[in-house]
């Protein structure tokens, strides 16, 4: 009985606090994406011909985002029937966008005009073992182009 109460309390906090944190994170992501829209992130390897004289610098951004209790629980149920795990989709989406934003912010500090050859890397720090910390890390990196 006691365990059930703890479980329900964790689920309750996980849901409400988790949802609140997620929506406020999305709000801040959208605001910063608008701000940094002036620096396009481009995934091509070759620069256009007219960029002959420019400076280049490696920029990167990383973020580790943790799952919450509710997301973990829903994903656990999902595994029984299969299909889209929407709770984790939004988690990884947030992490990716945040990593790109941090990379762009670093580029903005250098007064860069573009970021070329973007690569992304996702890794789960703990591979979903029991009682371990469930979190996902995303690293985004690319070459900032500073036109003269």
């Amino acid at each position: 009985m006691f365990e059930l109460i703890i479980f329900l309390v964790l689920l309750f906090f996980g849901y409400f606090v988790g949802q609140y944190l997620e929506s406020s994170h999305y709000k801040s992501i959208k605001a910063r994406e608008k701000e940094l829209n002036s620096i396009p992130a481009i995934a091509t390897r070759k620069l256009p011909e007219e960029f002959e004289a420019c400076e280049t610098k490696l920029v990167s951004g990383n973020v580790v985002i943790s799952v919450d209790y509710f997301k973990k629980f829903v994903a656990g149920l999902r595994i029984l029937i299969g299909g889209r795990v929407t709770t984790f989709e939004s988690l990884i989406d947030r992490a990716r966008r945040e990593a790109i934003l941090r990379m762009k912010a670093e580029a903005a500090q250098l007064d860069a005009n573009y970021v070329f050859n973007i690569k992304m890397e996702t890794s789960s720090i703990s591979k979903g073992q029991k009682d371990s910390i469930g979190s996902v890390e995303v690293l985004a990196y690319g070459t900032a182009i500073i036109l003269k």
């Binding site: 997620e22 280049t56 919450d68 690569k119 073992q129 910390i133 890390e137 690293l139």
Partner: protein, 104 residues
Amino acid sequence: MILSNLEYVPGKQITKHLGLVQGSTVRSKHVGRDIMAGFKNIFGGELVGYTELLHESREEAINRMVEQATSIGANSVLNIRFSTSSITQGASELFVYGTAVVLE
């Protein structure tokens, strides 16, 4: 030292290729951070301690790569790639590699 993940540097000629250079570091998190992260695991959100830890470790790996490149006389590392692997629970390896070249 020019670091880039492009295959060339615009406006500069590569005079010599010196082969692959690499740097890696294995880091684990400490218990204090782990306990905080345990709380965060209930509520969700960013694990700032881990983000910083991984960022610092990557800088360290880059420094090691740059050291290696300097010792063989390169002045630039191109086509840099990062890679992360978790070795055991609680420790991960951060690896960075690229091609050392001499630019004119």
